[in-house]
């Protein structure tokens, strides 16, 4: 075991030695693709750091006189900090609750035997077939009826329905050999311990992946928060940022500064969890080992 680990470590630290022509071409191609992908992002960041006068005048890769006035303006002259807070609250709550509830539902359907289990499963499968926009009017009417318009709860509640996550969890729990459950039962685990101490942590990889996807989806969601949060104090970043354009007129620096700030958490989530995701995949692979 140790020898294998050392060997792979030295292999990784050793620089690649072979530079075949195919390898060079492939690297070039990858670089070009990455550049094409990265250019708009780069341009948005660079433009957000220019004064508007510079933006229309110069066409350079780096701003000649960089300024963060667009950012300062966005933070001080719009409700951006409030929107940030709203987005953070709603996205975090949606992520935690939706993933936990989905995991529990998937666990129950996969591992427990209770009357109505199949009906529940088919209902979830069926709800997965219905596109969310088809329900949005119903959701709106219901949320209006229970007087939750312009509240965090109003934004959060309909977004907790994530049948896909339930389906993923059920599939995963189904795929686990029954011996894990039985070993834990013999070890004296009660139903809650079975879920929280065996099944959930054993599938940490799935949970991480589901949490990241749910968080990014919640942060970026537009249509529903746009309908529910009409009050500027309740808007999320994605909704609020569209009002900035009207408020600022054509002001490239400020708009793009707003856009950069809006997408920052999502970009950070990707970057931060990149390692976790790889780790997570390695862990789920370990389940079979």
């Amino acid at each position: 075991m140790t020898t294998v680990a050392t060997r792979s470590a030295t292999e990784m630290s050793r620089p690649a030695r072979r530079f075949g022509i195919g390898r060079i071409l492939l690297t070039l191609l990858t670089l070009i693709a990455a550049a094409i992908w990265f250019l708009p992002i780069y341009w948005a960041i660079v433009t957000s750091l220019r004064s508007d006068a510079d933006t229309v005048r110069e066409f350079t890769l780096l701003p000649s006189s960089p300024t963060i006035s667009g950012y300062i303006y966005g933070i001080t002259n719009s409700q951006l900090p409030v929107w940030y807070l709203n987005s953070t609250i709603t996205s975090v709550v949606i992520t935690v609750v939706a993933v936990l509830v989905s995991a529990m539902t998937g666990y129950a359907i996969s591992q427990l035997r209770f009357p109505g289990r199949n009906l529940l499963w088919w209902t979830i499968l069926a709800s997965f077939m219905i596109p969310v926009p088809a329900l949005i009017v119903n959701h709106f009417v219901i949320i209006a009826d229970v007087k939750l318009l312009n509240t965090h709860a109003g934004i959060i509640l309909p977004m907790l329905l994530t049948p896909v996550t339930v389906i993923v969890y059920k599939g995963f729990f189904d795929g686990l050999p029954r011996e894990y459950r039985e070993a834990a039962v013999m070890d004296g685990a009660n139903p809650y311990q079975l879920f929280y101490r065996v099944f959930l942590p054993m599938n940490w990889g799935v949970t991480t992946a589901m949490a990241i996807i749910t968080f990014i989806g919640a942060w970026n969601s537009f249509l529903w928060p746009f309908l529910v949060a009409q009050n500027v104090q309740m808007m999320t970043v994605a909704v609020g940022i569209t009002t900035v354009q009207d408020a600022f007129g054509v002001a490239y620096g400020r708009v793009l500064a707003g856009a950069v700030m809006a997408s920052l958490p999502v970009a950070l989530a990707y970057l931060l969890f990149q390692r976790r995701v790889t780790q997570a995949i390695a862990l789920s692979a370990g389940i079979k080992g």
């Binding site: 075991m1 070993a183 004296g188 054993m202 862990l283």
Partner: protein
Amino acid sequence: MASVELQSITKRYGSVEVIRGLNLSVDDGSFTALLGPSGCGKSTLLRMIAGLEEVSDGRALIGGVDVTHEQPAKRRVAMVFQSYALYPHLTVAQNICFSLSLAGVAKSIQKEKGGRVAKLLQLEPLMDRRPAELSGGQRQRVAIGRALVRDPEVFLFDEPLSNLDALLRVQMRLELAKLHNDLGTTMIYVTHDQVEAMTLADKIVVLDGGVISQMGSPLDLYNHPANRFVASFIGSPGMNFLAATVAHAADGLQATFDGGASLRLTPRAAPHFDGTQKVEIGIRPEHVTLSDPGAGQIDGVATVFEQLGNTSYVYVDTALGQIIVETDQSVRLHPGDRLGLTLDPSRAHVFEASGKAWAEQRPQ
């Protein structure tokens, strides 16, 4: 430590009866093997003792207490699974102490108990590893450790060695035997490998289609199989079976093989029958000796000659089918050699058409 007793235990899946009214008592401190071919219901039986499978009918007692409807964790039994089922997200130490941790046992006590088990199983250097970083044999030991830490009254093993390579299997077999010697805990061991059962157990229970075919000590089963199934299942290479007709003769029976050769049998007791009866004569490879062609009861041609060093096996083609003969290592043979075979009548077994064995032969 505790005894285990099953009374008319039955297990049905739907309308299929997998275990049929089985009675079994396992003595306190014994090492009992449940032996049988795949699908005969060994795991089901073990899982009913563990409480992982509902009992359809009958009662299960552990240490004299009826546990038929008791929770698995409350039965004071521990199980080692074939796949080990180690929790992949926990370290070796956490795996071993998982049951203690679930029960809310203090960390210091966990550490002490885990440490003791680790020492016994030589797992100390591995305590911080995860199961994915262990070899098959090490995983096996962790699985045993996880069972051990609970101080169970009864250990249940479900084919624990079948995922290991041959060399490791022999080594782990030894360690299990030592463990049983050290602990003296009742152990019930499921296997389809008769060598494992013969070497480890002090009592073997042979299962066939959900019923007990025979139980007894390893040598009992080897020397006195109660039926053709046990006779063929135990011993490697297996017993030779030769079709024959028997008739009563003075002081015993006369068995006539299909080719005309005959054997004089002297059973302690033979059932009464008129005229002749079709039977099978069973004889183990070590109870057949080689002679010159024509000098034995049966003639044949050697087809394969296996030399194991300490002993050799000759596969002989005869008019009655293939007969395996064990010879000592000094014998040299070549495929195609013509041979005569002499069967030791005092070691012959007689099985009637139903498979039931007649009483053994009187020593001559």
